[in-house]
Symmetry: D2
Subunit: 285 residues, 4 copies
């Protein structure tokens, strides 16, 4: 039901992680092992920081495995911080405005999962978005609504807190509609400097999420890759699904947990606890 990956570290040619990796994200578009569906062929998205102002995004309605432009871009673009996402649509159209990552200013956002009963709560969630941001929502996914709700609730000042509040608001609204599986999600967020990942589900097992253990592990993954032999301890990956089946390389991020990856390879972990902000009662009006 989607797979994503994010890199923060030294600048690398994007294809190293998209195409040259065993069971990388593009391979997962055709043969996911841990996802809800093996096929994630309903479009691709890629967001990166590098030249120019803020992040660039590339959104494609072609399956990642068949997108000739994606192969070209990945082979000729270097970035120290990027996210890629392969999509399995559940209901909403396959169109560029529904592809992840979503962007606002310097911020990128990806999501694996869904909002339960989205069709029924879409209007209320849209009303909870800051009116000044309302017209920025141009696609029809649940993820874009989550992103603008998070922006409304302070994503740019306190990313993890804002996501806790966002999930809290969604669960609150869903509960009033009798929806039990309000949020099923892993989220990836970045401002171009730091990378945040969240794993959470209102009920049942949350979608999988992993962090690369450390630089030694990644070097073992690519023993013949001179680029990766030059890896520093600054480099980290967050992925929906490990790039390889080799044990010992990936650390599973527990459910109801968030991670913060900072420059320098720092990886911090903390509980993720949804809560309803007091002023969210406005959204109930």
């Amino acid at each position: 039901m989607c797979r994503w990956m994010a890199w923060l570290g030294q600048p690398v040619l994007v294809e190293e992680l998209l195409f040259n990796t065993e069971h990388g994200i593009v391979d997962q578009s055709l043969h996911s092992r841990l996802g809800a569906e093996p096929t994630n062929g309903d479009g691709f998205g890629f967001g990166w920081y590098g030249s120019g102002d803020g992040p660039g995004v590339y959104h494609s309605v072609s399956p990642a495995w068949a997108d000739a432009n994606l192969r070209e871009l990945a082979g000729h673009m270097e970035s120290p911080l990027f996210m890629a996402h392969v999509r399995a649509a559940i209901g909403s159209s396959v169109q560029q405005t529904n592809c992840h990552p979503f962007r606002y200013g310097d911020w990128l956002f990806v999501h694996n999962g869904y909002l339960g009963g989205f069709h029924n709560v879409r209007r209320e969630l849209m009303l909870a978005i800051d009116p000044a941001l309302f017209a920025e929502v141009v696609g029809s996914t649940d993820t874009e609504v989550v992103f603008y709700l998070a922006l409304t609730l302070g994503l740019q000042e306190d990313p993890l807190g804002a996501l806790e509040r966002t999930v809290g608001v969604i669960e609150s609204i869903a509960a009033r509609h009798g929806i039990e599986d309000a949020v099923q999600a892993t989220f990836g967020v970045s401002d171009g400097t730091t990378l945040w990942g969240v794993r959470y589900a209102t009920t049942g097992p949350a979608r999988s999420l992993f962090a690369s253990a450390n630089v030694d592990a990644v070097r073992r993954l690519h023993p013949d890759n001179p680029r990766f032999q030059r890896l520093s301890p600054n480099d980290r990956l967050i992925v929906s699904e490990p790039f390889s089946d080799l044990p010992g390389i990936w650390d599973e991020i527990p459910p109801s947990t968030s991670v913060t990856v900072r420059s320098g390879g720092v990886l911090e972990q903390q509980p993720f606890r949804p809560r309803v902000p007091q002023f969210a009662t406005m959204a109930d009006a």
Copy 2:
């Protein structure tokens, strides 16, 4: 800023009107003469009544002139009632969910023009849509919002009245935002039996709209076309822009006017007078 056409009459092969006509709608996609822009290359849409339940729609993000599938479909599909639309996007994405005609149940809807200051009034207009219909809005055009607002205000019971109320509501909301050019529009609507056309602008000259004069005129348009020589007085065309420069064939529909085309070639004309429905004050909440 878009061009459209609609046919109601005997079943014809669609290509007769899309491709085999002098200065037809596909030619207008590349060389519009009366439109705000000569190029209408931001996608194409086609809706038709015939086999199956309700109307079918074909939406393409390719320019009409370059869409191989469109040529195929037009050449192998007959319909007694269809609409085609070529788009010049102004701000919103080129994607299938933004292509006209929009459909709901048995209803098709096309629009040439724009809502002034749409970015600023989008939220309020969306709130004025029946909550049960809210989640059906999946694109980002002003037209789709107009359509669902019209459905909210009774399109299926009283099409022209509902459009008058819809325009009234939009003008009312726009006025509160200091927007002067609230609505610039020609609309085309059908339920599969009857065809309605509207020409209206809040300020300034309205987009052009024409009706075919009568069967003799159409026959003169295609003197060598045996199909059209068999035309009956039942056949009518409504178009943004005449298919040919021959004088005497097309009747311009005046501004602030609607037309109703019924089976049997009946063409009725009446004033179009926007007004704010009493219960629309709800939309102001």
Copy 3:
């Protein structure tokens, strides 16, 4: 590595066979059971006979499961004779000119399989095509080359004989290049009146091919479908992969065998024996 289906019988709404059938061709695009690959997401094609001159074709680069236009067309188009094809590209681009069915005049052609070592024999095969037809080859698939070679070798006069000669020529050229698996194929061909199917492989097991057993079988497939309860003995299906797992409904077509389906439900079977035409030595020049 592709899946296809063909219908010859009374006019049916296309969606009955594409979408409303258990494990139909669109479902096979995502979850093929008998194909070389489970996913056939590299485009879709559909060719039909009905209104207008000759067959129409619809070619899409979207996966069949995600193509909104396909669902519309299938739901609003009736045809007594049509073919559909879902593609898994092996090397050549995902583009409309590489989608099946290929068409020439009144003829449609689909293929499941591949030419072994196509990259190495492409030039020689292209040279064997009638020079007057050479410029009609506009895509980069092996199938299109097979089709124009078959047209060169008499497809329009003697379809099965021409295909036997075509396979003979290909095997002859491949042999000179040391290619063992020259042809792996099921072919579907029609001229708008008759439908031919071929199952053949130079070496190893040929791709699967099945014919619907008889009208009673199809009625059992759709016990609740009033349309199919009205089926006559005139109706036949040829498919790469059965639409349902119910035993007794489908007859497997043996390897090295062709079938001819004629109006009236007639199904004839005969051996398929490739042979090199005498004048094909020209192709060796």
Copy 4:
């Protein structure tokens, strides 16, 4: 009938030349002034040298003016040497494999113009291509055939000589077919270090081609652009159509002339004289 541009100089953000320039190449896709057609909406292509091995290419079937990805890439990619091309298809399909630039190894190739009677000479020209390169031709444009013919005739060793031989061969074959307007062309070629441009027509006026006069001229073009105020004398542009109407900035390249742009801003001009290579008689076999 297509417009192109090429940059060789210091690394610049691509959008500076694609979007931020008065009457740049993207604007020319919608409103060409000097081209055979005002609209060049049948796809876009962009090739650049920078990170990774050899040049990258981005090919899009969307009109350049409406391609959201193009805007993103241009805004977040820097390159010292790149080419962009907007296409007006004349007969061949709008598909990525028909988009310029074409690439082989380190080489990029763009073309504005056409081969006269291409449909009639396509086969002979294809036969004149090195058999080892034949299978690399995967689209259906005349340009791709020209490119592979030029590679066959020594493009990588002697670019301008190879293009003179290529045009000579094409004119020779066309003459035998009674085609008078064999070649209408401006060509752009690069190997990642040097940039070559050619302006030539067998008969009649050749398509337009211009070189930027010198760095002072470009600085005057962008008085408010701090990036361009930092321009060095190393920077050159070759364009189908000037980016601005300001006189004195652009030097028209005469017909039957080629230019060579080398690192350091060197611009050399020499006559372009097609000639038939002796060994091209092989191609006549």
